[in-house]
């Protein structure tokens, strides 16, 4: 009997060219697929919930695959973690219904963007947060963040895709700013996000925080419907895929 197995994964993205399999480049999907194939001794088609970019981290990436091998799930988890490098770990292995699909079944996702605001960068935050040595107006950022909530056309705030037509209409259900010491985290919850969307929104909010963009001007950026209208991109290493929601999506 073929079983559908769901993996929950953590990884530090620093040493990988993102999630997605690439020929001759280390990717997270490549490492996990290789470990699975070593244990199960058959080819594995591994489906990930989110194609995280190079350098992006995950605290709760989800993937699924099919196998007919009989192996206790806890043994599979331990074998995988033994084979995987220290910067990729499987925290859960669960059997799920046949129709579960890591990407298509996802109802929503939680991403966290981490910023380090001190004047001097921290050795412990290197490649784990975006170093922004400025005093930021958090109230203005929160005001601007509200303008991104709901269902909108996010063309301005995403990477244009020349190869295929992508629907630019997306829904963000929550953006929250959490400050603790020198660390500021922006939490984003939404059904799905366009490529680079969180990183462009984050850069836009930082510009608002620095006083270089007024919250009202954000509306004009939406209207422009052009990637060139928005500020630069926040770097990948501040971004964490924190959680993928299935039936437990709160919105």
């Amino acid at each position: 009997m073929e079983k559908n197995l769901k993996l929950t994964l953590e990884y530090l993205g620093t040493n990988y060219y993102g999630w997605q399999l690439l020929p001759n480049k280390p990717t997270v999907q490549g490492k996990v697929k290789e470990a699975l194939e070593t244990v199960l001794r058959h080819e594995v088609k591994l489906i990930g919930a989110s194609r995280t970019d190079a350098g992006v981290h995950a605290l709760g990436q989800v993937a699924n695959f099919f196998t007919s091998k009989e192996i206790p799930l806890n043994d599979l988890k331990r074998a995988l973690n033994g084979l995987l490098p220290p910067d990729i770990k499987v925290t859960k292995v669960e059997e799920v219904p046949e129709d579960f699909h890591a990407r298509r079944s996802a109802k929503g996702k939680l991403y966290r963007y981490r910023l380090f605001l001190r004047e001097v960068p921290s050795p412990f935050e290197f490649q784990r947060s975006w170093f922004v040595p400025y005093r930021l107006d958090l109230k203005a950022m929160e005001e601007a963040a509200r303008l991104f909530l709901g269902t909108k056309d996010f063309t301005t705030f995403s990477k244009s895709d020349r190869k295929r037509e992508v629907n630019p209409i997306r829904t963000i259900d929550k953006i929250e700013l959490v400050k603790e010491g020198y660390v500021l985290e922006l939490l984003f919850v939404g059904r799905s996000f366009l490529r680079h969307m969180i990183r462009v929104i984050t850069a836009t909010l930082i510009e608002v925080g620095k006083g270089k963009l007024r919250p009202e001007e954000v509306e004009k950026l939406f209207e422009a419907r052009s990637r060139e209208a928005a500020p630069y991109l926040a770097p990948p290493y501040g971004l964490y895929l924190e959680r993928v929601y299935y039936e437990d999506y709160p919105y």
Copy 2:
């Protein structure tokens, strides 16, 4: 006029052979000395408060040196941080009285030993904490920790030094266990510590936590006055020099 300057430093010890200068090996002292000499254009004798071992981290190492160069302290800090690698940073530069000596003037130190207790190791904790996938009896550990407080002969709990006679009598003023999620931190405050002392005590407390050593047996270990009597050594990468106290030592 020669000025005595005090540096406060943070570093991730992973890529260094400890603080202390070594020929042909990367050390933290070596990197900081090199950066100082590049900026000041004269040889610098850099005195560190603590000779942290290879792999040990610091959130508040202190060092001092003398210079007669006229340079605003904030410019010196920025120049040093520009020259130093991302895993070593100077958080403060202050002028101190002529008789200030980073090691000899120190009244006490705070070290933190970080443990990660989950069943699966975390990619984010790799080389930053000791992975201990066991259920630990924290009450027994706290009971045993109290036996290390005060002024004692710590021969059993330190590295024997063949080269020189070291006074094994030391005073620990505080040991505190702080648990948050999967992270357990042991805080040690004392006037000064012997080599490996915190790592041997940590390993001993972990043995107590696992139920392999009873708190009462700790007294016997003290009486043995032999390094062979105590358990193994906790690894260096869980240890952080958090703070060096001068006139502000609370005990």
